[in-house]
Symmetry: C2
Subunit: 413 residues, 2 copies
């Protein structure tokens, strides 16, 4: 068996996937396997019992949004009885930041990989602060979700369709030359997104007050493009998945309790280990003890060769996640040691436009003992509060070891 | 006489000037000394006879725009007879990119320095290609200028007023962390400008088709914020001007024939030398021999501590102006050798957020033999064609020598 050849094919597919944003639709109408009593969530599979505070909060919020529960007690009962099922976003071609909870009637971005034909999905980004994805679920959160769903989503869909689709891969290439790394820093990408949408929003909106509100919401949220970017990365990673004999990591995701990975040549099997507490900078009034363990599907960005892997091109991110610009350079340099390839379209200006380190190779992680670097937001560990900081985290090496052992067993190498 | 103390005061004022964009108005109504038969132009004073192709083209285009001439022959006659006067933008608190030609009925951005009270002005940016500021003046150019004046300017003015003013200094601080240097690369700044304007454009525009067109025009033009940025830099530089005993350069400007500088402690006197041909990258089909000598007031950016001086934070600019990311780092490092201060608000992430080199000190230029580095666009030398590339240029040292000699004579040092 030629692992290198398999990895070559996997990373080539990941790199060549052209992720186009084609529109939005309600999850129930577009996500494969979505059903009325299902909630999708970030990371590997989880139960209510093992779920962290922010995950429980987001589940509660989504069930309130769906009109199925009034509070956490009711939400808990629905989930524990099995009346409401929980499944990973990743099992449904979907990714969601932080808790990642996606319910049937929420609109999701639709990404089409034009090179290989697969699709991927992600929900709308709510902005910063007290938001569902960090486990907040009160009336204010519900009101915002309602507005996003009823007012913003139809206009965004119309604007994206009117634009003929937005090339998220091209947008990312550009944003990586504008100080973004695509995970925790999406300032440039989000206003490039605004630039692409704005004239079309004006075109499709029938009410100038609404036009104004939607332009403001997209422009003010420096993460507005994060969800389409994540879905784009998911489409790239999925293109690389399922290559017989490949040791390329195609999923890294956390549910707030466990960190899980999947490997191209290992089918749908998850390898998991306890999620860590990120190290970083806290918003005023919060500290380490308040932090929830690492949570979210946003590590799909590092999986696809951006995020922490592209930090060298985003030195200003250290004001947000801690460290120095030199640390940012080192982070990217180190990731070349555990990746199989270098990206053809995502490049790092301070490295003379060298391609970003792309395609985590399980073998290299084990050989070097270096685990992937991840930039992430930090959630409060209690339900209902929200984001309290941002920082850096590394997944536990244990699951990479288990994955490589399972790989060796499966392939007899 | 304490030159250091004078320079301290000058650079302090330059750095502390808070440049707010407050609106637009027609030049005749707002620029001090503007009159019906006057055209402003970039650089030090120039006559028709000595004017370069692009300058003559822009003068012709502005007179066609004003309904005063039909072609270059008529324009020439009007200027040579003195019926139409030419004066530098810089004599009227104004700056303009490339030819910089500003006529009475054109709208100009109004910048107010809230710290020291002075104002500065700049015209609207037309975008790339065949444009007036590069000397093109045909019907297509006129049609675009007309649309900008009659449709876009009133909406921009309304949007800026509705926004309560846009803090261009804060916008620049942000853009410098997003891969811009503020002169030749204003990609991030221009979409930050769009972000600030977009909701207010929707608010003030009465027609969604026009809203769409204006959002498109601002978003598609990666130089849309250049002119407000230049006016902001002019307001900063003017705040530093007129300090008795200061050797800080407060003007660097080119008219396509001469490069000229002015010095804080030397009043309104220009020191000039022949402008050079920039070295850089040409658009397909053009070469060195097609290039006009250096032209434009946009060197006000370097004068205020950004542009070529801030290149270290804008490594991706080398794809446009030639060179390597290391050259970009070196450019900024070198400029610390000839500047008096480091900026407090404009910082360079890869230098651990060190302030940009700010306030060119005539004494240091002469002591080191290092002249300022300037990023610039390259105009075709013939009237009517437009931009043919972008590159780097250094002003001749001769005028710095003459300025220092004049300074020594004036102050008896």
């Amino acid at each position: 068996m030629d692992i290198d050849k398999a990895n070559q094919e996997a990373t080539q597919k990941m790199i060549e996937a052209r992720a186009m944003l084609t529109g939005l639709a309600k999850a129930i109408n577009v996500i494969p396997g979505m059903r009325d009593n299902l909630l999708l969530h970030a990371g590997p599979p989880i139960t209510w019992e093992r779920a962290s505070g922010p995950m429980r909060g987001a589940i509660t919020g989504a069930l309130i949004f769906e009109g199925k529960a009034k509070n956490e007690t009711e939400a808990k009962a629905l989930v524990e009885s099995g009346e409401i099922a929980l499944e990973p976003c990743h099992h449904h071609q979907t990714v969601g930041p932080m808790a990642g909870v996606t319910s049937p009637s929420m609109s999701v971005y639709i990404i089409k990989n034009e090179t290989h034909g697969n699709q991927a999905f992600s929900n709308l980004n709510e902005g910063y602060g007290k938001v569902l994805r960090y486990g907040a679920f009160d009336q204010e959160v519900q009101k915002r979700l309602r507005w996003m769903e009823d007012v913003m989503a139809p206009i965004l869909n119309g604007a994206i369709e009117a634009s003929g689709g937005i090339d998220i891969k091209a947008l990312l290439s550009e944003a990586l030359h504008m100080g973004d790394e695509g995970h925790n820093r999406n300032k440039a990408g989000s206003i490039l997104f605004l630039k692409a949408l704005a004239p079309n929003i004006a075109k499709v909106s029938k009410d100038s007050k609404v036009t104004c509100e939607v332009l403001q919401a997209i422009g003010d949220n420096a993460l507005s493009v994060l969800n389409p970017v994540m879905a784009a990365c998911k489409a790239m990673a999925d293109a690389a998945h399922g290559i017989e004999g490949s040791t390329i990591v195609t999923t890294m995701a956390r549910n707030g309790t466990d960190f899980g990975i999947r490997v191209s040549g290992m089918g749908e099997q998850w390898f998991t280990a306890p999620a860590q507490i990120p190290k970083g900078l806290y918003f005023p009034g919060y500290k380490d003890e308040d932090a929830n363990p690492d949570i979210g599907d946003s590590t799909i960005t590092e999986t696809a060769g951006i995020g922490g892997f592209a930090m060298a091109g985003a030195p200003a991110i250290v004001t947000f996640v801690s460290g120095t610009p030199q640390d940012a350079l080192n982070a990217s340099l180190e990731m070349y040691e555990i990746t199989f390839s270098e990206h053809k379209y995502f490049t790092i200006p301070p490295f003379d436009f060298r391609g970003t380190p792309t395609g985590i190779d399980l073998r290299k992680v084990i050989a070097t003992g270096i685990t992937p670097r991840v930039n992430t937001g930090i959630a409060h560990k209690k339900a209902g509060i929200g984001q309290i900081g941002a920082g850096l985290v590394r997944p536990p090496i244990k699951m990479f070891e288990e994955a490589l052992m399972a790989f060796a067993e499966k392939y007899g190498v």
